[in-house]
Amino acid sequence: MVIKVFKNFIKSIFSKMFKSKEDIKLGFYGPPSVGKTSLANRICKDFTGEEIGKVSKIPHETRKVGFKEKVEIEYKGKKLMFKLVDTPGIATKIDYEDFLKYNMKKKDAKKRAKEATQGVIESIKWLDDMDAVVIVLDATENPYNQVNITIIGNLVARKIPVLIVANKTDLKKADIKKIESAFPEYEVIGLSAKYGENLEEFYESLFKLVK
C-alpha cells in the first residue's frame, strides 16, 4: 500500500515536470489581412531565424494553419518555449470575384476562395487546442466587427487567455484608442509587425499572459 502511494506520488511529480516542459500553444487569430502572419514571422525570425509563412497584399494568403515548434522566446532573462500557430483569417463571407481585382485568373480566384473557406473552418476548429491567443487587429479598421467579437466570445467561453494586438501602427490612420474602447476588458498592445516596432511591450504582455 505504502509502495503504491509512493509510486503514484513519484508518477505525479514526473507528469507535472513533463507537462511544464510542454510548449505553450500560442494562436494568432483575427480577420484576414490584419498581419497575423507578419507578426508570427517577426517573432519566429527574432528567435529562430526562420519564418512561419508567406505574406501578401491579397487577402486570405494564409489558407492553412501554419506551425512553428520549439520557439524559445527570451524576455528580460526569462525563457519560455512556444508552439506558434498561425491561423487563416476568419471571415463570414468569401467571394472569388474579390480576388479578380488583384489580376488573378478566374480559375485561380475560385480555387483561392475554396481554400479560404476551408481555412476559416480549420481556424475555428483549432480554437479548442490553444493555450493562449493573440488576437491581431488592424489598427486602421473599425474594431466593432462581429468576427472579432465572436472570436473573443469563444475564447472567453473556453477560458483561454487573450491578448489583443493593434497592428499597423506605422500607418497614419491607426487608432489604438478606438480598439481599447471597443475591448476595455483586455490589454491592447499597439505595434507594427512590418517594422518591428513596440515588440518589447508585446513580449512583456505575452509573458504576463501565459505566466
Binding site: 471571415a91 463570414t92 468569401i94 467571394d95 475560385k110 475555428i124 465572436t150 467561453a157
Partner: protein, 137 residues
Amino acid sequence: MKKRKRGKDLGRIKGFSIQFLPYSEIKDLDSDERIKKILSIVLGNNILILQGKLKADEEARLIGDTMAMIGHVANFKGIELAVITGNDEGNIYDKMKFGMANFLTGGNVNAITIIGPASIVKEMKRNPKKIELLLNG
C-alpha cells in the same frame, strides 16, 4: 409540388424581405436546429432580425456552416452578421430589469442580431450604439 432550388433567388435585391424572429421561436431549439433555421431564412433571400443573440459557440458554428456552403449553394457568398446589445450601460434598476427579463426568457432578449446574405448586404457598419446596413446596388 415542384421543389424550389435552394439559393435560387440569392443575389436578387429585387424581392428580398426582412424577417423578424422573436426569441421565443428559437428558445427551445438546440444549436443545430437554431443554425439550420437561421440559414434557411437567410438562404431564402431574407435579412433576418433576431431578438436576442446566439451563444458564442453557435456564432462560430454559424460561420463554419456558412463557409461550408459557399461553392455548394448557387450564388451564396456568405453572410453579414452583427449583434448589438443594449444593457451595457444604465442604472442598477435597468440592469436588474434586463437581468430578470433574460432570466425569465432564458436568453439575452435585450440584444438584436442581424444576419443577411452577403449577396444582398454589402456591409454592416457597427459601432457600440447602432448598426448600419449597406445593401448591394
